[in-house]
């Protein structure tokens, strides 16, 4: 089921989402031959300690997190992980983060040509940082500025990860496409809050967190669909995928591939079962390959009942 998405050759249509697969060295038990590719934990130019605990709480069918992009910085990533990635037989994209447009460009330049780096996923959608992050993803001009700054500093494939916290995701998607993105990833987590009734404080120390898991899936499918309709470049669907049928919703909605995230926390082998289920669906329905998968049957415009 190999396929090319946004100038990256994926082994299967199911990737591991950023922040849920570490640097690829942590997740146990998974048969990596089924992994389409992975996106590494979000990195900044400089090391970041992350946010204080509590960082993670479970909510109904979901999980709130505010890790604050804890990470060792790009120098350590290049030293400790990129040489390992060069040995692996699946592509690794690096999720990049910054507080300014110029820093995004600088980070892209540092990663350009690095061994084992198959592409960049530009994170303009992290809800858990006080500077930058999601702010870039909420404004079409800023989203384009970041995408363009990255595009100019690297020959690597440039994917842009979109936030759901927008009025019109199609506008942001088109702005990123016009600025040179090779693919879009839709969507990052939704901002949420959960309150501890004992202390009357937010249960996440940062105050708010990013909501992921099955709770967000219908909203994510809708947003990914809106984005896919708006652009010619491929869209990678993300949001609460736990099973193959969840993934197929995104694919039928117009996505070229998907990323599995939170599900891996509970089931380290979740990606395997998603890939197997997609293969089964494709062959059971007699499609030659994924490209032959029919797209969404849009509702008739006159679907409203006659009076």
């Amino acid at each position: 089921m190999t396929l090319e998405v946004g100038r990256v050759q994926l082994r299967t249509p199911v990737m591991a989402a950023s922040g849920t697969f570490g640097y690829g060295t942590e997740v146990p038990l998974l048969d990596r031959s089924r992994l389409g590719g992975m996106v590494s934990k979000g990195i900044f130019l400089h090391p970041r300690p992350g946010t204080p605990p509590v960082r993670i709480v479970e909510t109904p069918s979901g999980m709130l997190n505010a890790i604050g992009l804890q990470g060792p910085g790009v120098d350590a990533l290049l030293r400790d992980y990129s040489p390992q990635w060069a040995e692996w037989d699946f592509p690794v994209l690096v999720n990049i983060n910054a507080e300014t447009v110029d820093e995004y460009g600088e980070l892209a330049a540092r990663l350009d040509g690095a061994p084992g780096v198959a592409g960049l996923e530009v994170n303009i959608s992290c809800p858990n940082v006080s500077q930058g992050g999601m702010l870039f993803g909420k404004d079409a001009r800023l989203a384009a500025a970041v995408t363009g700054a990255v595009r100019r500093r690297t020959a690597l494939p440039v994917w842009v990860k979109l936030t759901p916290a927008v009025t019109d995701i199609a506008e942001i998607a088109r702005a990123c496409e016009d600025a040179g993105a090779d693919a879009l990833c839709a969507v990052n987590t939704f901002v949420g809050m959960s309150i501890d009734l004992h202390t009357r404080r937010p249960r996440i120390a940062f105050g708010t967190g990013g909501l992921s898991g099955p709770a967000i899936r219908p909203m994510a499918v809708h947003l990914a669909h809106q984005a896919a309709k708006a652009v010619r470049i491929p869209v990678v669907g993300i949001g609460g995928i736990t099973t193959a049928s969840d993934a197929l919703e995104f694919l039928i909605a117009g996505c070229r591939a998907v990323q599995v995230g939170t599900a891996t926390f509970a089931e380290p082998r979740a990606i395997e079962s998603v890939v197997e289920g997609i293969e089964r669906y494709v062959s059971d329905n007699g499609y030659e390959d994924l490209d032959a998968l029919p797209r969404l049957v849009e509702p008739e415009s006159e679907a409203a009942p006659a009076t």
Binding site: G50, P52, V54, I56, E58, P60, H198, F265, A266
Partner: protein, 254 residues
């Protein structure tokens, strides 16, 4: 690390609120050491796994101790023998034992008793004399099961043993302390025994080092992962003020 489909074999009551569940999990039973944990997943059930220190090991049986504090633990207590769950483990770095100590105090408060039976086993294997110190709110809340050469009790209301904290009940001259319990108890213990080994409880996402959710603030700055670098730490190396005093789990996962 193993992902074992583990059937519930037996259940017994420890206190009014605490239960022991024993699961058949031979691979994990054979490998687990004191202070390590398993991460349990129920399907259908909550989205995430729930981490538990291993309590006792008996042949192929791995025991965990729990209270019904939220939806996940309530569902675990509803299991009947033969029901299975996914048990991932053993996880984390446990206690270490040095025969040169000669003696060790195993100090626990409430549910913090969880890693102590294995600690007593491993301490005895290292030739150490074991002083078992356990405290709770009242005599009814004390876990009566203990292992070692000597036992000391502490209760908040004085209904059994010392009226006061387990820290006060611990022999002042004991050469080393291994402890588990609420963070304020461990913080108090750290003041007296900075080189004590303490097992820290946190919320966890994955339990395998990926999500960075179980952050433990270190005195040298930055955060560790309780699931990977921990859950056992030297008491003096923790920035206690940055940890929550109590964990509250009461979120229905529906």
């Amino acid at each position: 690390m193993h992902d074992v489909t583990a059937p519930l074999l037996r259940r017994r009551r420890l206190t009014a609120e605490m239960w022991v569940l024993g699961f058949q999990s031979p691979e994990i039973a054979a490998e687990v050491t004191a202070g390590q944990f398993v991460n349990l997943l129920l399907r259908p059930g909550p989205l995430l796994r729930r981490p538990f220190s291993v309590y006792r090991v008996d042949g192929e049986t791995v025991e965990v101790v729990l209270k019904a504090v939220g939806e996940g633990t309530r569902q675990l207590l509803d299991l009947t023998p033969g029901d299975t769950l996914s048990m991932l483990g053993p996880l984390g770095r446990g206690f270490t034992f040095d025969p040169a100590w000669k003696e060790v105090a195993l100090v626990s408060g409430g549910l913090g008793v969880a890693p102590m039976p294995l600690a007593a086993r491993d301490a005895a294997a290292a030739g150490l004399r074991v002083c078992w110190v356990h405290g709770a709110r009242t005599a009814d809340d004390l876990c009566q099961e203990w292992t070692g050469d000597e036992v000391r009790w502490a209760t908040d209301d004085g209904s059994r043993g010392l009226r006061g904290s387990v820290v006060d009940a611990t022999p002042a001259d004991v050469p080393q302390v291994l402890a588990c319990g609420p963070n304020p108890m461990l913080a108090a213990l750290a003041g007296r025994w900075p080189t004590a080994q303490v097992a820290i409880e946190t919320y966890m996402g994955c339990g395998t080092g990926v999500c960075l959710g179980c952050a433990v603030p270190r005195a040298r700055g930055g955060y560790d992962r309780a699931c990977t670098e921990g859950p056992v730490y030297e008491a003096g190396s923790i920035r206690w003020a940055a940890l929550p005093g109590h964990l509250h789990y009461e979120v229905a996962s529906r």
